[in-house]
C-alpha cells in the first residue's frame, strides 16, 4: 500500500481511483478450500484429490468433523485465506453431499453428489497439464431459472482458475462442462486435442479440435441454496430432491410389505376356514 501511495503522490493522482483500479484487478483472487468430513470413503477422497489436481487455486485441508458446527468452516477458510469452500460431507459412509460456499458472507449451496466416478477408476485416455486453465462450458438451461443462474455464477467463481493464479499455467487445454439434465447438474472434463490423432501433426486451421474425456464424472443434485455461508435463510429448495435415506427406507418397506401381505393372507385364510366350517358327514360313523 505504501508504494501505491508513493506513486500516487508522485504523480498527483487520485489515490482512491488507483486503489479501486488495483482492486479491480486483484479482486478475482479466488481461492478454494477443500475439506472432507470424517467418515468419507476412498472414492470420495479420490474425487477430492482429482479436483485438487484440476484446480490449482485450491487448498486441501485435513478432514474435519463439522456436522453440527458449520461455522468452523468459515473460520478455516479465513485462516487459509480462501474465499470459497468445497465441503464434502459424507453421511453413513455412503452418501456424499457437497457444499459450495462463498466463505464469509454467502451464499452457499448444498448438493448431493451422485453417479460419482473418479479419474482413477475411469480408464479415460485424456490428460491435461496440471494447473492449466479450463474453459467453463455452461448449458443454455442455466439461464432459464434464477437459482440456476446463481449456481452458474458460483461455478464460474470456484471452478474457473483465475488468471495468474499461483500454481496455474497460462494455457488452455481442457473444458469443464456443466449441463442441466433431469434437473441435476452433470459435470464432465474434456481435453482439447489440437493435434491430429493419427499423424501427431498440427491440425489444419479450419478443422475442429477433438475432445478426449479426462474425468472425473459426477452429478450434482442441488438440495438447497442458503443466503449465508453454511447457514442462513433458505432461498431455494429443490422440490425434486428425495433424500437417499427415504429411498432406502422405501425399498425396505416394499420388501417388508411383501412379508406383511403374505402374513395377512394367511390370517385371512384361517378366518375364512373358521367362518365356513366343513359340513359334518352324516355317514361318518357308519362302519364303526
Amino acid at each position: 500500500m505504501a508504494t501505491l501511495y508513493k506513486t500516487a503522490k508522485s504523480e498527483f493522482m487520485d489515490v482512491d481511483d488507483l486503489i479501486e483500479e488495483k482492486e479491480k484487478l486483484t479482486n478475482i483472487k479466488h481461492r478454494v478450500l477443500m475439506v472432507a468430513s470424517r467418515g468419507s470413503t476412498y472414492r470420495h477422497r479420490h474425487l477430492l484429490n482429482d479436483l485438487e489436481a484440476l484446480l490449482p487455486h485450491s487448498k486441501k485441508e485435513a478432514k474435519i468433523e463439522a456436522k453440527k458446527d458449520m461455522e468452523l468452516l468459515n473460520e478455516l477458510a479465513e485462516i487459509h485465506n480462501c474465499n470459497n469452500v468445497f465441503y464434502f460431507e459424507t453421511r453413513k459412509h455412503t452418501d456424499l453431499y457437497m457444499w459450495i460456499s462463498r466463505a464469509p458472507s454467502g451464499p452457499s449451496v448444498k448438493f448431493q453428489v451422485q453417479n460419482l466416478h473418479t479419474m482413477d477408476e475411469l480408464k479415460m485416455t485424456g490428460n491435461c497439464l496440471k494447473g492449466s486453465r479450463p474453459i467453463l462450458s455452461f448449458d443454455a438451461n442455466f439461464d432459464s431459472e434464477p437459482h440456476l443462474q446463481l449456481l452458474k455464477e458460483i461455478f464460474t467463481q470456484t471452478f474457473g482458475v483465475p488468471k495468474g493464479a499461483r500454481k496455474s499455467k497460462p494455457f488452455f487445454d481442457h473444458v469443464f462442462t456443466f449441463s442441466v439434465v433431469d434437473g441435476r447438474i452433470w459435470f464432465r472434463n474434456f481435453q482439447i486435442a489440437e493435434k491430429d490423432s493419427t499423424t501427431g501433426g498440427d491440425l489444419a486451421k479450419d478443422d475442429k479440435p477433438t475432445l478426449i474425456e479426462i474425468g472425473p464424472r459426477f452429478v450434482l443434485n442441488p438440495i438447497r441454496i442458503f443466503e449465508g455461508s453454511f447457514g442462513g435463510p433458505t432461498l431455494y429448495e429443490n422440490p425434486k430432491f428425495i433424500s437417499p435415506n427415504v429411498i432406502r427406507a422405501n425399498i425396505l418397506r416394499q420388501k417388508a410389505a411383501k412379508h406383511a401381505g403374505r402374513m395377512n393372507n394367511a390370517t385371512e385364510r384361517e378366518n375364512r376356514s373358521k367362518e365356513n366350517p366343513l359340513p359334518v358327514d352324516p355317514l361318518k360313523d357308519v362302519f364303526e
Partner: protein
C-alpha cells in the same frame, strides 16, 4: 353479560346443531392438515436469488478472467438414462465451448496452446497413463482373441465334417476290399479249376510268393485245400489255432449266465461240498507212515 347469556341460551337451544358444526370444523381442519402434508411448499425466492446474483456477479470482469461460455442451444435429453445420447450432447456442448473459447482467448492476446517444447507435470501421471494404455491394449487383445476363437470354432465344425467324410470313405474302401477277398476265397474253396487259373494270376499279381508255392502243392494233391485230420480240427477248435488267444478263457456274460452244468439237486444234497471247500484227503504224517511199515 347479556351476550354471554344469550350465547348460553342459544347453545342450549341448538346444542345438536352446534355439535354438528364443530364436527364439520374438525373435519375441515383435518382435511386442511392432510393437504398441507401432501403438497409441501418449496421455497423459491426468485427475487432474492436474482438480487444475490447481482451482488456476487463479476460480469464486469474481462472474459479472460472468467472463461465461461454458454452453449447456443439448451441440452435436451429425452431420457437421462440413455448414456449415448446424453454423453454425445455433453460432447457437443464442450466442443462448441472449445472452439468459441479458443477464439476468445486468442482475441484477448493470451496463448491458447502450450508450445511444443513446454513440458510440465500432467494431471495424470505417466504410470497412470501407462495403466490406461495397458488396459486398452488388453481390451484389443481380448477382442482379437475372441474373434480368432470364433473363427477356429467354425473351422473345427467344418473340419469335423470333412473328417467324417474321410472316415466313411476309408470304411467303404475297406469293406469293398474285404468283399473282394472273401469272394476270392469262396471261389478258391469251390475248387473250380478253370476259375482258379484266373485267380492264380490275380493273386500272383498281388505278389505273395510264399502262398503261391503252397497253393501249387495243394493243387498237385487233387486241387483241394488240404485239411488237417478230425482230431486236430477239434483240438484246434478247443485250444485255438489261429485267431486271437488273449482273453479266450475269461468269463463272458454268456458263460457266466450259463447254468446248464448246475444241478439244484446236487447243490442241495448233503454230500455236495464246493470244490474250494473240499478237504484234502488226509495223508498221515511221516512218522505214522514209517511206523505203519
Amino acid at each position: 353479560m347479556s351476550d354471554s347469556e344469550h350465547e348460553h341460551i342459544y347453545s342450549d337451544n341448538d346444542a345438536l346443531l352446534e355439535d354438528e358444526e364443530t364436527a364439520l370444523e374438525i373435519a375441515a381442519l383435518e382435511s386442511g392438515s392432510m393437504q398441507s402434508e401432501k403438497v409441501k411448499e418449496y421455497i423459491n425466492h426468485k427475487a432474492a436469488l436474482a438480487a444475490l446474483l447481482e451482488e456476487i456477479s463479476q460480469k464486469n470482469l474481462d472474459w479472460i478472467q472468467r472463461c465461461d461460455i454458454v452453449s447456443s442451444a439448451p441440452i435436451v435429453v429425452e431420457k437421462a438414462d440413455n448414456d449415448l445420447d446424453r454423453e454425445l450432447s455433453f460432447y457437443q456442448q464442450a466442443l462448441e465451448a472449445a472452439i468459441l473459447g479458443k477464439q476468445q482467448v486468442l482475441k484477448a492476446g493470451v496463448p491458447f496452446e502450450r508450445p511444443n517444447d513446454y513440458f510440465a507435470e500432467m494431471v495424470k501421471s505417466d504410470s497412470h497413463m501407462a495403466r490406461i494404455r495397458q488396459k486398452l491394449l488388453d481390451q484389443q487383445k481380448g477382442i482379437q482373441n475372441a474373434e480368432e476363437a470364433k473363427k477356429q470354432r467354425q473351422l473345427r465344425k467344418y473340419g469335423k465334417k470333412i473328417q467324417q467324410e474321410k472316415i466313411k470313405e476309408r470304411e467303404d474302401q475297406k469293406k469293398a476290399a474285404l468283399e473282394k477277398i472273401s469272394s476270392i476265397k469262396k471261389r478258391l474253396r469251390s475248387g473250380d479249376m478253370g476259375d482258379a487259373d484266373d485267380f492264380e494270376i490275380d493273386i500272383d499279381s498281388d505278389g505273395e510268393s510264399g502262398k503261391k508255392g503252397k497253393l501249387g502243392r495243394d493243387k498237385a494233391k487233387g486241387g483241394r485245400k488240404l485239411l488237417p485230420n478230425k482230431k486236430r480240427q477239434n483240438k484246434n477248435e478247443k485250444f485255438g489255432f489261429g485267431g486271437k488267444k488273449r482273453g479266450m478263457k475269461n468269463n463272458t456274460a454268456e458263460s457266466s449266465a450259463d447254468l446248464s452244468s448246475f444241478s439244484a439237486k446236487r447243490n442241495k444234497s448233503s454230500k455236495f461240498v464246493a470244490p474250494s471247500k473240499r478237504g484234502k484227503s488226509q495223508r498221515p504224517g511221516k512218522s505214522k507212515r514209517q511206523r505203519a511199515f
